[in-house]
Structures are given as structure tokens and as C-alpha cells.
Symmetry: C2
Subunit: 224 residues, 2 copies
């Protein structure tokens, strides 16, 4: 499994084809690609600014020139790096979705008992939510929006598929409740999202202690 398969060509090292690439491999050839290295800075600044604004005001509530201003570039420059506003939001989505995925996959204890695997996943998500709260909020907010393209949706579907098969395997070992796997995913992911949302709203602080307590709660929700 290769996490680079989740991001677009500009960010990914060219690699072998990936299982989870759900869309035809030919992404529309990006029109404007500045060739200098300095370009990377601007592209990045645009993505960072866009992330912040999309979280604060939503996709339709954010004006492209506003993104440009916060990124410290001219409005026209945006279109040297992205074909459209939609392309920006998809790039932001794919970048950070890949980030989460990488964290979860990294050092995954494949052969450990379920409780330990659960701990790893919970911690990985929590690390991400603490390190990049905006990105986490963005991914939640823009979940399944209609301006997300096929590739972005494919990533999401792939992640869920992976979760489903993990759960099915663990259930087979009798360590989880024998309920529909999608139900268990919904509860765990939902609980985690609820946690982060309350933190984002300032009603809760995501200390390691709180995260650990929530982890135990979530585990008790689904364990056999």
C-alpha cells in the first residue's frame, strides 16, 4: 500500500499503481505548472490559505481573491497553479486525507491484538487532530460535498473499505460485537468526530488524558 497514490501528481513521487486508486489513472493534465522550484512555496501558501478560509467560511463562502490575499499572491497567480476553485478544494482535500491515512498506516501493528490495533488507530487520528486541527475540521466539513471530484471521493471510499475489512477480520476473532461492520465504524468515527468538534468549539481540551479516556469509551462501545 502506498500513500502517495492518494495525492495528485505534483505532490507524489511517481510510484507503482495503487489498489485504492478508484478513478481512471489519467488525471486531467494540469494546465499551468510553474517550472521553478520557488513555485512550490506559492502552491503551498495557496493551499494553506485555502484550507483556513474553507474551514472558516465554507467553499461557496470563500472568494478566490481572498485566498490569494491571505496566501500573499496575486489573484491571477492562483490560476497558474490550479485550474479552478474546485481544483483547489480537491487538492486541499486529497492532501490532508492522505495525511490522515499516512498516520494511521504508519507502524500499524498488524499482528497485535485488536485492542492494541484500536489504540494505534485512535492515537493516529488524535495526533492528526491535535497537529492539524484545521485540516481535520476541513475534512469533516467537506465530507461528500458535490464539488469534490471522483478522485477525492474514491479516497474516502477506499479508507472506509479498509476499515470495514479490518473490522470484519477482528470480528472473526470474536473481539468485537457481531454487529454490522458499518455500524461499528459509524459509532467509533462518529464518537471521535464528536470529541474533536467539541474541542474545536472550545468546550473541551484535547489533552492526552482526555484522548485516552475517550479511547477507552469508544472501545467499550464496540468490544465483544
Amino acid at each position: 500500500m502506498n500513500i502517495h497514490s492518494f495525492v495528485d501528481g505534483d505532490d507524489a513521487i511517481p510510484t507503482r499503481p495503487a489498489i485504492l486508486q478508484m478513478t481512471p489513472p489519467a488525471s486531467p493534465p494540469r494546465r499551468p505548472v510553474p517550472t521553478t522550484e520557488r513555485g512550490a512555496d506559492k502552491r503551498d501558501a495557496i493551499l494553506v490559505a485555502a484550507l483556513e478560509l474553507f474551514v472558516e467560511r465554507g467553499f461557496h463562502g470563500t472568494a478566490v481573491p481572498e485566498i490569494a490575499e491571505r496566501a500573499g499572491v496575486g489573484a491571477g497567480t492562483i490560476y497558474r497553479y490550479f485550474a479552478s476553485k474546485e481544483a483547489i478544494v480537491n487538492a486541499v482535500y486529497q492532501r490532508h486525507k492522505a495525511g490522515v491515512f499516512a498516520r494511521v498506516m504508519k507502524d500499524f501493528p498488524v499482528d497485535a491484538p485488536a485492542r492494541q490495533q484500536f489504540h494505534h488507530m485512535w492515537q493516529a487520528f488524535a495526533d492528526f487532530a491535535r497537529a492539524e486541527p484545521r485540516a481535520f475540521a476541513f475534512l469533516e466539513l467537506h465530507h461528500h460535498a458535490d464539488y469534490l471530484d471522483a478522485q477525492s471521493c474514491g479516497i474516502e471510499d477506499g479508507t472506509v473499505k479498509m476499515g470495514l475489512s479490518f473490522i470484519a477480520a477482528t470480528q472473526a476473532r470474536g473481539e468485537l460485537k457481531p454487529l454490522p461492520p458499518m455500524l461499528l465504524i459509524a459509532i467509533v468515527v462518529g464518537a471521535f468526530n464528536g470529541l474533536v468538534r467539541k474541542a474545536y468549539e472550545g468546550h473541551l481540551e484535547l489533552t492526552p488524558e482526555v484522548i485516552a479516556q475517550a479511547e477507552q469509551c469508544a472501545w467499550e462501545a464496540i468490544r465483544a
Copy 2:
């Protein structure tokens, strides 16, 4: 407690002041209020159309004339009933938030054991989610958006406060984990939202059985 205090003047029977009315009681006098009874139909059609469109495309993604068209009225007519697009979204929010609240409060088993109270709340939410999936999705999506006014936010805060004190009381009886009440709320509400979201996306069917299974999971997450 009087649920009518949550909805605006046009929908509510005049009543005594309510505890959870968090904003100054003087709501800005509604400018245009058609006096005939036929007006109620149009106002309602507008709110229904707006709910659907806001869920499908978001607040900024929805054009007012679009709402008018779906409601079967002229664009100008909207402004006979609502002062602005923001007023529409707030009216939708307050109407349905009040709906949820009413369902939860109705026949609440004040003196029953915690598990039974939990069952009542879970079922009330589930009934609402099944009866009005769009409204539920709307409330989730537009949670804490910046176009919601003080009154709308006040309702939300009030609901959470109520949940907090309920949890604190139940913890005092030793029936819930002695963790921060906000944490327990986050987990239960989050789990429920996760459930409904997966259902809304078509990955899960909200049968009574599934709802009951999820309820038991959520309870085991927070019980002592």
C-alpha cells in the same frame, strides 16, 4: 419548560417567558407579515424548500430565487416573509431545533433509572432522524455557522447545558463513568451523528434493530 419559546413569533403561541431564551426577548419586529391565513402556506413552502436546498448545496451555494422557484412562489415574495437570506436559514434552524428538543422532552421519564432515560433520549433522536432526515442533516451541517444569529446559537447552548446537568446528576448516582460530562456528551452525540450520517449516505439502513444495537453500544461507552 416550554418548547414554543424556541420558535419565532409566527409559529409560537404566546406564552410565559422561557428559561432557555438566551437572547434579549425583543426579537426585531418582523417587517413583512402577510395577514391572511393563506400566508402560512407560503411561508411554510419557503421554509421547506430552503431546508432542502441548504442541505443539498449549503447556505452560500443556494440562490434565493432558487428557493423561490422550488417553493412555487415569486422571488420577491420571499422578502414578504423574511427580511433576508440569513433570516431564512435562522428560521429553518430554529424551527427544527425546536422540533428535536420537543421530541426529547416529551414524556421524559424524569424518575426512571439512567439506562431508561438514555433509551428515551436515544429513541427520541432516532425518531426525529427517521421522520425528518433532511432536517437532521441540516442541523448537523449548519452547526455553529457564522450566519446563525444569537438566538439560534442560544438554543444550541441551552440544549447542551441541559445535557450537561443531566449527566452530572446521573454521574452523582454512580451510573455513568466519572469523566468530564462534556466528554460523554461528545461521544454519545458524535456516535449518533455518525450513525445518521452513514445512513444518509446510504451505507446503512436505520432500522429499529440497528438503532437499538447502536443505542446499546453508546450506552456501554459511557456507563460506569
